[in-house]
Symmetry: C2
Subunit: 358 residues, 2 copies
Amino acid sequence: MRGPSNPRPARIADVAREAGVSITTVSHVLSSKRPVSAQTRQAVLDAAQRLAYRPTVAARGLATGRTMALGLQFPMEGEHLLLNPYFPLLLGSLSAAAVHDGYSFVLLPARRSSEFPLESLLETQRLDGAILVDPSSTNDLLPLLRDYRVPVVTVGRYLGRARTHWVDNDHAIAIGRVLDHLAEQGYRRPALISLGHERYSYIVDIEDSFRTRTEAAGREPMVIRAEDLSERAGYDAAVTLLDRADRPDAIIAAVDRQAIGVLGAAEELGISVPDELGIVGEGDTVLARNANPPLTTIDPRAAELGAQAIAIIRQILDAGNRPGRMITLTVETRLVVRESTARSGAGPEISPAPAASP
Amino acid sequence: MRGPSNPRPARIADVAREAGVSITTVSHVLSSKRPVSAQTRQAVLDAAQRLAYRPTVAARGLATGRTMALGLQFPMEGEHLLLNPYFPLLLGSLSAAAVHDGYSFVLLPARRSSEFPLESLLETQRLDGAILVDPSSTNDLLPLLRDYRVPVVTVGRYLGRARTHWVDNDHAIAIGRVLDHLAEQGYRRPALISLGHERYSYIVDIEDSFRTRTEAAGREPMVIRAEDLSERAGYDAAVTLLDRADRPDAIIAAVDRQAIGVLGAAEELGISVPDELGIVGEGDTVLARNANPPLTTIDPRAAELGAQAIAIIRQILDAGNRPGRMITLTVETRLVVRESTARSGAGPEISPAPAASP
DNA sequence: CTGAAAGCGCTAACAC
DNA sequence: GTGTTAGCGCTTTCAG
């Protein structure tokens, strides 16, 4: 069935009447801000369910002084070459979680510009909080939000001066898993393609853990920094790597887009994948899935990242943000093994997806 | 100077006091919903200005029954290969205009999925309206929004059954300008790279107008459909085109990303740009600007498109949407001439940017 | 042309 | 453990 069913949405008073209690009680059942007897509680919940009750966002906002709007910024503007097919996944999960909690978004630019009334927005206190995805350390917005005391949660850590709440992948574990997998498949000289500038925590993390792990294994780390996250940059980096005397037999790329470029380079140079060269990407995007051969990739678990980011915001807003006390959350990645590293001919395998660790 | 200045934002009552009138009058001045004497009006405006007054979105929403939230959907999810660096520009302008009018966004997925509580959102939280950017004709969302009577404005026309309000570029004029320019520069056999599926009005428009114009000039239209909007697809299409006996001496690509691919193909085949081949892109993105040589491109005037889309929404909401009466707005593009078509060695030129035509 | 006052739906003192 | 009630800031009848 389809189409609108409730001509007039249920109000809190309707629920109260239906459950035979006062609206106060309904309010408290829904917010759990004061104890309610189990019986009453259940009656209210049932009534709310029956009437498909949803609090009116505006009314709640007016009463609590909240706006129910969150700032949202992600690496798009001015850095188009960083466009990452993983963002859509993340945005989807952020939006789903936000909708669930009654929040909507104000899309924020990474840098101030005359076109966007940023100051006026902040001045009039219209944001309850803000979520910044992969903020570069040169991000203009973060210091500004701090000045205006807007609680900020970043997805990926901010490397600038300010401290923020954050949720991030555990990239050390991720790289460890990749290297273990490559070793198992008999690859001996893995190389890493990262990014030409270290403005993202993600890049720093994968470089560091790759270096550490490789050196621990008694090998010299092969790391090359690509221009950007594009296929082209991946291609260029791969060509350089594969031209070396001690050429790598496996390449880990910072993102799937680059990995696609690596694949192209291998193809062009007549290097067979996965036999002569293993390739690993990151993002678990369609790019990796649809490649030929399909690419082994690190799944950052975007859905989890998004949900946790919103959860942190809610926690801060509900608890009345003790300043200085930062909430940080690590989400484990998942290694998705596909043909691009399946040297042994074993079928694809997928590592278990653990829950976020607190 | 920086940081929060107003500890307590001004309320409508403050403005009323400051101007020596009632809050009713202030409200009416701001909404122009009933006549107010010029004197009083000015006094109120001045007071509001002085106090930097901004209406509280939640309060207004409560009083009017609006949510002040707009659905926003653009081609990201599930169609990652369509990622277009022009979207960030458009999103920026949409967001700026929305903020100005007090609106925030709920990011909507193009297709229903179990992860996103779309039905529940529509049942309850009621969006005031929705903006769909380049909706494909197979878009799931549009029919759903219709069923729930959410006013929809599309950027680019929707080719499915339903009619919507829309704002769109005038692609016929755009292609005309490009062809004129190419002819001036002495190019005689222009070809067009479009998209493999006709699900977007944009693609239909440029193909049609290219065909019409070329045939009118007594030539056979050379049109090839690329796989997607990626550099790779542009490259592949260009290689095919440049392999023909009657090979084109100019290529117009549907988007800048493809045009970059065309450039790569020319380079690889040893075809000089702009001498042997002229290249034109679309989007006026950094991709075109930073290419070597810089690419001539069609500027869709994203800022104007975004502002107009929001303006239409506001008009519908304010006027009380007479159903059936669709608002449509055409925004003229601008041709940005750069080296990739500068055969005559003349410096870059830019066509004037006309205002939106009503 | 202008004002007073009654809500809009919810939260949170303040009672009991 | 539960209910009464006074706002939150704005729009909008209804009076004047």
